[in-house]
């Protein structure tokens, strides 16, 4: 047996700072997890068609921004809270967390206005912000993104835009997984002090860019091969359900209240 195999060795790698790799890995995983979690979403908002939901949310946001009466905003908030209370707890927390952060932020920004005597906007504007952010967030948390994209098609959003949105979502996941692997590789190969990590990181970014070009070309070719002409057709037939009717009725009620309040 050779001599060097018998001598005991003590190798302790020099401490190295790799927080930034860990952080990039975590944020990458978080992003991919968020998109993938969508696949587990089974039901739409109690069976309300996404087309109806997108349109009504849009209407709601417009009404909220137009109105000057606090009571109307309050009614909209009541409606949204009613929808929220029927959602699973996890989604409620996610939606409300964003809404509250944004509302508090708006409130702080508006504080100077209160010192100049404008007390009305101090309550009205944060309430409006809360209502619109909650409305949009409910939509984003209940529906799968591909369902929402499909709904956009009904509103005559150009094909190109939908194409870009659709591909972007898919490729965020694919490229994300790809770069995640490279980050793992970098982490594993950096034993001891590795001063060239920053250079490798830019290498990862560069590789990702090149890879995305190759993938895009392959995708385009394969889509053309399969007969894609650039137009999106929604396959599902329009089915008007009971939930749609209830949802539309409730929104119609809100619209009626808006008209009633604006008159009086």
């Amino acid at each position: 047996m050779p001599e060097w195999l018998l001598t005991s060795e003590q190798y302790e790698p020099v401490k190295d700072k790799d927080t930034f790799i860990n952080k990039s890995i975590l944020s990458m995983i978080g992003l991919i997890a968020r998109i993938k979690a969508q696949d587990s979403r089974g039901r739409d908002l109690f069976g309300v068609n996404p087309v109806v939901a997108v349109f009504m949310t849009f209407l709601l946001v417009v009404l909220i921004s137009l109105v000057r009466y606090f009571s109307f905003v309050l009614i909209v908030i009541t409606f949204l809270i009613l929808i929220l209370c029927l959602m699973p707890a996890g989604d409620i927390i996610k939606v409300l967390r964003v809404s509250f952060v944004v509302t508090v932020f708006t409130f702080i920004i508006l504080l100077p206005a209160a010192f100049f005597g404008n007390h009305l906007s101090l309550t009205l504007i944060p309430a409006k912000v809360f209502a619109s952010v909650t409305a949009v967030n409910i939509l984003a948390h209940v529906y799968r993104w591909n369902r929402l994209i499909a709904a956009l098609r009904v509103f005559r959003v150009p094909n190109l835009l939908i194409f870009v949105l659709d591909i972007t979502l898919k490729y965020i996941v694919m490229l994300g997984e790809f770069s995640l692997e490279m980050l793992y590789a970098l982490k594993l190969r950096s034993v001891g002090k590795n001063t060239e990590k920053y250079a490798s990181l830019s290498g990862i970014a560069g590789t990702m860019f090149l890879k995305s070009r190759v993938m895009a070309e392959e995708l385009h070719e394969s889509m053309v091969c399969r007969g894609f002409t650039g137009t999106y057709k929604t396959a599902a037939a329009w089915r008007f359900s009971f939930a749609d009717a209830v949802y539309i009725l409730m929104n119609a009620g809100i619209l009626a209240v808006y008209i009633y309040i604006s008159r009086g």
Partner: protein, 330 residues
């Protein structure tokens, strides 16, 4: 029975809060230990029931109004500790959002309606049920328990009101806060509650209890079917019925605003003055004062308030349940 601000002296409020806080703390601890994560949202539904029940004002003899509380019902369904938490949260929402019950008086209100009421009601229910067995004993126990519970709370409220003029006076001998002594407040509170509000509470309790027992027994007994849809349906029906609470004209005894109290009749004489402590006392502006929305008819405001209150209570307890799960996992 919601004591508004400035009816009780700050000292009384502090004493009542000091009495309420430990009981609520023990209840939270008990609920954490005993109620499973899956059952936590039921507390929210219980709180929602109580919230709605309190919106049904019934006219009482003497030109005032009163309402049931439903605390005994929750205590029977989920246990007295859960009832304490549920009613307390409902009271907090009422005080903060709807200006029903004072902020400073919150401790007193919680003590009367969220502690004395469900605990008294539950133990009487238990006593009767154990004596007469389940079945009829349950129904009778629920009726008697809720009746006694509500009246115990009303009596306590009356005593708190009645002690004010004895304890807190100006140099000239005028009462600083609630102007009515025990000899006025106890009969004024107790007669209507014994005659009407207590009966309403008992009817409410028995009706909802037997409905839940028939439709969704899982809420009462472990391992039976729970039909949340039926429960939500009942809540929705109650919300639609809340405007009935508006039929009762007049303000509940002891809930007058500072502008009203001057002209309140008691024993045929008008009060004729506004107590000093009320004139320049603590004032809190709720978002939806008296369950009304400016610019909308009273009924619409009432229904929207009911929806908002119920939804907020359900969300609050759903979130609490979610946090409980996170803690258990760590």
């Amino acid at each position: 029975m919601h004591i508004p601000d400035n009816y009780l002296s700050p000292a009384t409020c502090v004493v009542m809060a000091a009495a309420a806080v430990p009981v609520v703390a023990v209840s939270i601890k008990k609920v954490r230990e005993e109620i499973s994560q899956a059952k936590m949202p039921l507390l929210g539904i219980g709180a929602a029931f109580s919230f709605l029940t309190m919106m049904f004002n019934v006219p009482l003899p003497g030109g005032t109004t009163g309402h049931a509380v439903g605390g005994t019902l929750i205590a029977i369904l989920l246990g007295p500790y859960s009832a304490c938490i549920s009613v307390a949260v409902a009271l907090i929402i009422q005080a903060l959002l709807f200006g029903d019950g004072g902020i400073l008086a919150l401790g007193a209100n919680i003590f009367n309606m969220a502690i004395v009421l469900p605990f008294a009601g539950y133990f009487i229910y238990k006593l009767i049920r154990d004596r007469f067995g389940s079945g009829k004993g349950e129904i009778v126990g629920a009726a008697v328990g809720s009746y006694v519970g509500l009246n115990a709370a009303a009596l306590l409220t009356a005593v708190e009101f009645g002690l004010q003029p004895l304890l807190f006076q100006t140099a000239a001998g005028q009462p600083l806060y609630c102007p009515y002594p025990l000899s006025v407040s106890i009969p004024a509170m107790m007669i209507p509650h014994l005659l009407v509000a207590g009966v309403v509470e008992a009817v409410f309790t028995v009706f909802i209890y037997s409905f839940i027992k028939r439709v969704s027994p899982g809420m009462i007994y472990e391992g039976k079917t729970t039909r949340t849809k039926a429960i939500y349906g009942l809540l929705a029906a109650l919300i639609c019925l809340t405007p009935l609470g508006l039929l009762a004209a007049g303000t509940a005894w002891g809930e007058w605003g500072a502008d009203e109290i001057n002209t309140v009749l008691s024993g045929g004489t008008m009060l004729g003055f506004v107590p000093q402590g009320m004139q320049n006392g603590f004032n809190f502006n709720a978002i939806l004062p008296d369950y009304a929305i400016t610019g909308l008819p009273e009924i619409a405001g009432y229904i929207i308030s009911a929806v908002l209150g119920v939804a907020i209570l359900i969300i609050a307890f759903k979130i609490l349940a979610a946090f409980k799960k996170n803690k258990a996992n760590v």
